[in-house]
């Protein structure tokens, strides 16, 4: 606690907003410096878990709790945290020439063995550069030497980090809870052997999910498309397959997670009930990259819930997954959890409920702990377009559910839609207005004594962003003019005073789209944008479109090159990465989308996406005995 006695430290903390972001000291934060530093240097690995955004965002993320617990379990490893400083602290650090330090022991980042970035959205890229630079670490892997820390990255968008490839030594693809500790263990052996960083990368590049960008080299055609991605390190595999946790019941649950002292964005205990998704909504990257769906058993979850309640004292518990109601025994699980949470005034929140699987009895039981709003994500305004995106929910379900909800006193309804989806017409946009107005009528038509007194409807739209490893990875993103036109059309239609309409920024959607399907040439663009002042771009108040446009002038064609529709046979920047789902499957799904044909969920039959090779979860032979090689889908 000595650092708090330092006037210099106090004066910095008194000069910035929310100093609690930087001081640590939370319950279950680990400080094992005494034991750790008494080990011999080659017997220990000092790991900095970095999240390129502010504390309140970083600590809302489950990844940090999983990785922190998984790494610190090993006495030879000390995993600390380091997050992006807000702009006030950043200026202060620069002005006083102070390095970026870890939260737990205030060790300068440059003194760690490994720095691991957890990446969840593209607009965080410039913060990665800022953090490296504040730490005094050369940005580019090629400019770093053996005495610099190893810079690694992982997370849900690791499946295409090509725009950041020049900055990382290694990228971890897939589930990290087993593979990252294994990698760190390899690093410790590497320290003993006193080899070079290059030796280490060669040594680990065959492990599942370990991708060393420097071992691969894309060659571009004159038009900017990729001609070929070649393997330049002879021993590297041709294609890198993601790491997965095969038995999800064995994946450790952080039952004593760090409990933030200050309020964070998602301030609750989290129970990850399953990983992966069986649905196959064609725009959703997570729905494919996390496949196959793997559940935790109700016993495992109930046991973890009990521990979490006792250890954290939080007043909210969230069940986490991509589609909560798809949990095979959601009824049983909720029934077991409710008696645990009710007497302790704990709210149970179940995000990502799908409409068609929405069981009203279930909602009623949960409502006893929490009377929040009802949230639905139909994503598109017409059945035709919902079929195109494979969002298999029907309006009857929506109206029935809404009616029952209104009758039971619910008075807030949130609706999520996407604008700019492939094949979208004016009629589809009008369809959003129509659907919303008809939902209002459902409420209005109920006798007054049988419905909630008031009704608040929030309609939120985001713009469709084509993402790698989805059936829509070939699609174009609509232009800013089209975005403006569609958003205006919707705003003009949604005039009822009970409805409030929110929409996502046009410009940041474009940059997100550019980066999402970007190639390595964007490293220069990102660095240029960062040098020109881009930082914390996911924050509306910090995002500067002009800086990005200027930086994108380095690329012939600019942003349009990346937001365009891709040729059918185009080689993608992520072609050498393998998340399990095959390109052939995506091609087939894209064709079906164009024909307006929906596809089955994994529960209803195997569509032969490619993930059955893992033979686990929903792909276990016992689940789908009938699953044949070409799947249950006729092409």
């Amino acid at each position: 606690m000595q650092r708090f006695e330092s006037p210099q430290f106090r004066s910095i903390l008194r000069s910035v907003a929310k100093p609690a972001r930087y001081v640590g000291g939370e319950l279950y934060a680990i400080d094992k410096r005494n034991e750790f530093f008494s080990l011999r240097e080659e017997d220990r690995v000092h790991f900095a878990f970095c999240f390129p955004d502010l504390y309140e965002i970083a600590m809302s993320n489950l990844a940090i709790q999983i990785i922190y617990a998984a790494l610190n379990r090993d006495d030879h490893v000390f995993c600390e945290r380091c997050f992006a400083p807000d702009v006030d602290l950043r200026s202060l650090l620069r002005k006083r020439d102070l390095p970026l330090v870890s939260i737990e022991t205030m060790t300068p980042l440059s003194e760690f063995d490994i720095i691991g970035f957890s990446l969840h959205y593209e607009l965080a890229y410039t913060a990665v550069l800022e953090m490296l630079d504040l730490a005094g670490i050369p940005l580019r892997a090629a400019d770093r030497n053996d005495s610099d820390p190893l810079i690694v990255a992982g997370g849900p968008i690791a499946c295409n980090l090509e725009p950041m490839a020049s900055f990382f030594d290694l990228i971890l693809l897939g589930d990290g809870e087993f593979q990252l500790p294994k990698l760190v263990d390899e690093y410790r052996e590497h320290k003993v052997s006193k080899g070079s960083k290059y030796d280490f990368l060669r040594r680990v590049c065959h492990m599942d999910g370990i991708y060393v960008p420097a071992f691969y080299e894309p060659r571009y055609r004159d038009d900017g498309q990729i001609e070929e991605i070649s393997v330049v390190e002879p021993i590297a595999p041709k294609s890198v397959r993601k790491a997965i946790v095969r038995d999800f019941n064995l994946a450790p649950i952080a039952t004593s997670p760090i409990v933030p002292n200050m309020e964070v964005t998602h301030d609750r205990m989290v129970l990850e009930i399953f990983r992966g998704c069986a649905r196959g909504c064609r725009f959703c990257q997570a729905g494919f990259t996390y496949r196959p769906l793997r559940e935790r058993s109700p016993e495992t979850l109930v046991d973890a819930a009990e521990k979490l309640i006792d250890s954290t004292g939080c007043d909210e518990m969230g069940l986490l997954s991509l589609s909560t109601s798809d949990y095979s025994n959601i009824d049983g699980l909720t029934r077991a959890l409710l008696p645990m949470v009710e007497p302790r005034h704990i709210n149970l929140s179940l995000p990502s409920l799908r409409l068609d699987a929405f069981d009203f009895d279930l909602a009623e039981r949960i409502a006893r702990t929490r009377r929040g709003g009802l949230t639905f994500a139909p994503e598109a305004g017409t059945q035709r377009l919902r079929d195109v995106i494979n969002k298999n929910i029907s309006e009857d379900d929506l109206f029935d559910t809404a009616r029952t909800a209104f009758e039971n006193g619910w008075d807030r309804l949130k609706l999520y839609f996407m604008l700019g989806l492939p094949t979208e017409t004016d009629e589809d946009v009008e369809g959003i207005v129509d659907l919303t107005m008809r939902l209002l009528s459902v409420w209005r038509d109920l006798p007054k004594e049988r419905r909630s007194k008031r009704l608040f409807v929030t309609v939120s739209t985001s713009f469709f962003i084509p993402k790698p490893f989805t059936p829509f990875q070939w699609e174009r993103q609509i232009s800013i003019n089209e975005m403006r036109e569609k958003q205006q059309r919707l705003a003009d239609g949604l005039t009822d005073r009970r409805i409030s309409y929110r929409w996502h920024d046009f410009e940041s959607s474009v940059i997100e789209a550019v980066l999402a399907r970007g190639d390595r040439r964007l490293s220069d663009v990102i660095e240029r944008a960062w040098r020109a002042g881009s930082y914390l771009d996911a924050w509306h108040e910090h995002f500067d479109y002009d800086i990005w446009l200027d930086a994108l002038s380095l690329i012939p064609g600019g942003a349009d090159f990346y937001t365009r529709e891709r040729a059918e046979d185009e080689i993608f920047p992520w072609e050498h990465l393998d998340i399990g789902v095959t390109r052939r499957f995506f091609e087939r799904e894209r064709r079906r989308s164009r024909e307006g044909r929906v596809s089955l969920s994994c529960f209803d039959g195997c569509s032969a996406c490619g993930c059955s090779v893992w033979q686990t979860g929903v792909c276990s032979p016992s689940v789908h005995d009938a699953c044949s090689d070409n799947g249950g889908v006729s092409c």
């Binding site: 606690m1 708090f4 006695e5 330092s6 006037p7 210099q8 106090r10 004066s11 903390l13 008194r14 000069s15 929310k18 100093p19 609690a20 930087y22 001081v23 640590g24 000291g25 939370e26 319950l27 934060a29 409990v259 002292n261 200050m262 309020e263 006792d310 250890s311 954290t312 004292g313 939080c314 007043d315 302790r344 005034h345 009377r371």
Partner: protein, 234 residues
């Protein structure tokens, strides 16, 4: 859940906070306490509000960001009587490092809220040459006006009238009793501002100052806690 003729049981706990938790804002500090009570299994009573029930906790004074405390009162309402010593020990194990309950006693038998009973507080501030700055600022007994803007309205605050008693003035530290609570509340940041403006304390030293609230004085509390009698209360 209520026992003993349905009378809920009120209790005052005194807490110290040091280390990292000093940098928490008041609301965060409150939530930290709520969670610690949950973890320690205290039978805290909840408000009856149907939509947003909250555990009943009342802090005597808000804890400002960057202020250490040694004996700040917080009133809790319990559903039932508990055996205090082991439960306080359990609570102390449930706090993050730096927060600790140092004393406790029954709440005063009054309808007045704990906040309205708070009248003054003892502070210790450490900073290079702060003693000289303090003497210089308040010599002569004149008002020391500092303007303070809150919610767009600026008012003049006389700092001198809010220093009730000076205990110790050393070269690098001062100890005094200042006003606290609703009347004549002394904001330590405004005091430091006055010391910079009128006493020659450097701005950096003011920002780096260590501020410790050693004790909070309340009306009525002495009756319950003979050990902490303070007869100088107005």
């Amino acid at each position: 859940m209520l026992n003993e003729n349905d009378v809920k049981y009120r209790l005052i706990l005194y807490f110290a906070r040091r280390g990292a938790t000093v940098w928490l804002a008041h609301l965060d500090n409150m939530r930290l306490f709520e969670r610690a009570f949950n973890r320690a299994g205290w039978p805290i009573a909840w408000t009856e509000d149907a939509f947003n029930p909250r555990p009943i906790l009342v802090f005597g004074l808000p804890v400002g960001v960057g202020i250490e405390t040694r004996r700040d009162p917080v009133e809790v309402t319990l559903e039932q009587r508990i055996e205090l010593k082991p439960m306080v020990e359990r609570l102390n194990r449930s706090f993050p490092r730096g927060v600790e309950i140092v004393d406790w006693g029954e709440a005063p038998d009054t309808r007045k809220s704990l906040m309205s009973l708070v009248k003054s507080a003892d502070y210790m501030i450490e900073a290079p040459s702060i003693g000289q700055a303090f003497s210089r600022t308040f010599e002569g007994g004149h008002p020391v006006l500092i303007s303070w803007t809150r919610k767009g309205r600026t008012s003049q605050v006389d700092i001198a009238s809010r220093i009730f008693e000076t205990y110790v003035v050393k070269k690098d530290s001062i100890e005094f009793k200042g006003g606290a609570g609703s009347d004549l509340h002394l904001r330590v940041d405004l005091l430091l501002e006055a010391l910079v403006r009128d006493g020659g304390l450097s701005n950096d030293d003011a920002l780096g100052a260590r501020v410790v609230r050693k004790r909070v004085h309340c009306d009525l509390l002495p009756r319950c806690l003979p050990g902490s009698l303070d007869k100088r209360l107005e």
